[in-house]
């Protein structure tokens, strides 16, 4: 069997805060092959972004990876120091940061910024780097003329594309995209997601999408991991997890999400708040908010168990028969068709 591109085993990340130390990423394990994508969903504070940063080892001062392994093509990144990490960042793993709007420097031309990133990681001339930037602009669907413009001349969608171009600039094996389209409106979001999906397949990259939008997960990912309080509580094929969620948290997350298609369902409000991570607890971290919790849940923590590739950590898994409404939607008329067929 071939080795997966990325294999994460029992990765644990702890933060030291004024309130005490907390575990932001708690023994997370998963693997990902080339050409495949994984969505990470959950509430804010669930550890999605921390996990993304941990994979690149771009961690804030008050944090520490306390255990686990990050195997990229068999090389364990966990023990590498800053200098040893440098060849991996951007060349092998890159990231599209949250709020991409603000991750461009306002006083540099966008083309120059991307070229600078390339020159920092590869031994190429400025001229070569700029020509790569041109190719990247074509690839991501930006006008080459915009290479010589400043970020303020870009629209939100264009900035997002520029930041994605930068992430792809060194042809990485793995791209981590942290809420890549959250700030955009639906039409730009649609275009960028389609393009990312296409590029990912074309370049045979692995991608990790961090998002809170289950619609986005359904459309662009092959696998999905649901994070709660730093733990991966459910993991499996996207089609399977979303059509039959086993963990009550996944089910609750899905039913609190308004949908524009299908029958209008009552939104279910997930009461309570995520647990205080500075307090160590036995038992399932979701137990207090869970409608199906039993005494057992409060005493012993469930671990992620594999059921034919669909993994979940729950003592009382749901039968998965989540009511999926029949999707009916109007189709767009093509060209000059006047009528609107309704399905």
């Amino acid at each position: 069997m071939s080795r997966p591109l990325l294999e994460v085993r029992d990765l644990t990340l702890r933060y030291q805060t004024m309130q005490g130390s907390l575990t932001a990423v708690d023994s997370v394990s998963f693997s990902l092959d080339r050409g495949q994508s994984l969505g990470l969903v959950g509430e804010s504070g669930g550890g999605k972004t921390s996990l993304g940063l941990a994979l690149m080892k771009l961690l804030p001062e008050n944090s520490k990876l306390t255990g686990g392994r990050i195997l990229l093509d068999g090389v364990d990144l966990f023990h590498l120091d800053e200098n040893q990490m440098r060849p991996y960042r951007w060349n092998r793993i890159s990231m599209v940061f949250q709020a991409a709007m603000n991750s461009l420097d306002p006083v540099y031309k966008v083309g120059e910024q991307i070229a600078e990133a390339i020159e920092a990681h590869q031994s190429v001339s400025h001229h070569q780097a700029m020509s790569t930037v041109g190719d990247l602009f074509d690839l991501i669907g930006l006008d080459r003329n915009f290479m010589n413009r400043y970020p303020h001349e870009y629209s939100g969608g264009m900035k997002q594309r520029a930041v994605i171009a930068m992430a792809l600039s060194c042809e990485p094996d793995l791209v981590i995209a942290d809420e890549p389209t959250t700030a955009l409106d639906v039409i730009s979001q649609d275009r960028i997601l389609r393009q990312l999906r296409l590029l990912q397949k074309q370049l045979n990259m692995a991608m990790i999408y961090v998002t809170h939008d289950i619609g986005v997960v359904a459309e662009v990912t092959d696998y999905v991991g649901v994070m709660y309080a730093g733990q991966l509580v459910e993991l499996g094929k996207t089609s399977e997890v979303l059509s039959s969620p086993r963990h009550p948290y996944t089910a609750a997350l899905m039913s609190s999400f308004p949908s524009v298609t299908g029958e209008k369902k009552e939104l279910v409000v997930l009461e309570g708040e995520p647990p205080d991570l500075t307090v160590e607890s036995e038992g399932c971290r979701f137990a207090d908010r869970c409608a199906h919790s039993t005494d057992m849940c409060r005493i012993i923590q469930p671990t992620l168990v594999d059921h034919l590739g669909h993994r979940y950590a729950c003592w009382n898994p749901q039968d998965g028969a989540l009511e999926r409404p029949v999707t009916h939607r109007t189709e767009l008329p093509s060209g000059d068709v006047n009528g609107v067929p309704t399905r």
């Binding site: 209008k264 109007t330 767009l332 008329p333 060209g335």
Partner: protein
């Protein structure tokens, strides 16, 4: 919901307004051919001024106790329209009529001094970002009581009572535990609840909500949406609900108006409009929403280009350049009017 069925629960001992079941049952706010143009500087050499037509000839009605959703991409003029409705800015032309509790219809543009202050107690706003809309140096009590202080309602004890009541109403219970907390001690959802309590403390008939849930986390969002719906039902408040998210609008609004470059291009009953959109822009917007169903294959969005700013726009359909259905006629004709297209639907398109 039928506005006639609205039950007005008078919970407020010091409510400013009283009876909402007067002769003007039906319409709460009416905007007639409202436009707002912003002058753009023409540079040093050119003296010619150009204008950004942020809101152009918009007519809409919000029924008492009803909820109208205003949907569109960023930059389409939604927020400008909201600000016009509340007279936070003055319209360039057109009129905004508020159907007052006692005095019958009033033209919002002519209000001044005391009347304007009375209008403000009746029409309130909830902003998008609860991290910015609440003064960080105010306690929860200060924030929620401020409108009462401004309007000179009640004494300190009555205010305290009213604020506690409001906090309980928005689900911050027990209120005593929250009264003297500062915003930084609250979560995002709790802050937005405080913002809602603050908007509702005077017992307004109209609330303009500008993307009130878009900054909130998924699980919290459903709670705030539900709360706002419950309050509308219980208090008979009318909402002008602004959002870019059609799925949210579906849960919050009886009616939806779709805005594009300052114009309303389609409006109608929510479910009907979502099921059977008529305007090509509405169709595109709808087909771009990701569907949380992995087996569903979404049709391609059939528009190209991106929205530009309506600066001195030509008098023709604003959607012409991006429209998959456009024909030569659309290029030469003036912007189509918002006309009935059957089943109570209005749309501005020559091709429907």
């Amino acid at each position: 919901m039928n506005p006639h069925d609205v039950e007005v629960v008078d919970t407020a001992p010091l409510q400013v307004s009283t009876d909402t079941n007067d002769a003007s049952v039906g319409t709460l706010l009416e905007m007639q051919e409202v436009s707002k143009r912003f002058a753009m500087s023409g540079g040093f050499i050119s003296r010619r001024k150009s204008y950004l037509h942020a809101v152009d000839d918009v007519t809409l009605k919000i029924p008492r106790g009803g909820s109208l959703g205003l949907v569109g991409e960023s930059g389409c003029g939604k927020t400008t329209l909201a600000r016009l409705a509340l007279r936070l800015i003055e319209p360039s032309s057109g009129s905004v009529t508020f159907h007052d509790f006692q005095n019958g219809p009033v033209d919002v543009a002519t209000l001044n001094g005391r009347q304007l202050k009375a209008f403000r107690s009746q029409a309130q706003m909830i902003f998008q970002d609860p991290y910015q809309s609440i003064n960080p140096r105010f306690t929860v009590f200060d924030a929620v009581a401020e409108p009462l202080v401004v309007q000179g309602v009640g004494n300190i004890l009555e205010r305290r009572h009213r604020v506690s009541e409001m906090l309980e109403m928005v689900g911050m219970s027990p209120a005593e535990g929250f009264l003297f907390r500062y915003p930084h001690q609250l979560s995002g959802g709790q802050r937005q609840r405080v913002a809602i309590a603050r908007a509702l403390v005077l017992g307004p008939a109209l609330v303009v909500a500008d993307e009130p849930t878009s900054m909130l986390d998924v699980s919290v969002r459903a709670g705030v949406m539900k709360l706002m719906n419950d309050l509308r039902r219980d208090l008979g408040i009318g909402y002008l609900y602004i959002t870019h998210d059609l799925a949210t609008a579906r849960y919050m609004c009886d009616q939806i108006a779709v805005m594009y470059m300052g114009k309303i291009v389609e409006s109608g009953e929510t479910e009907d409009l979502l099921r059977n959109p008529k305007h090509p822009y509405t169709k595109a917007l709808l087909s771009a929403v990701p569907v949380p169903d992995p087996s569903y294959v979404r049709p391609e969005v059939e528009i190209n280009g991106s929205v530009s700013a309506p600066i001195d726009p030509l008098d023709r359909c604003r959607f012409y350049e991006r429209c998959p259905m456009a024909i030569e006629f659309c290029k030469a004709a003036p912007h189509p009017g918002l006309e009935p297209k059957g089943d109570g639907r209005l749309a501005a398109c020559y091709r429907i």
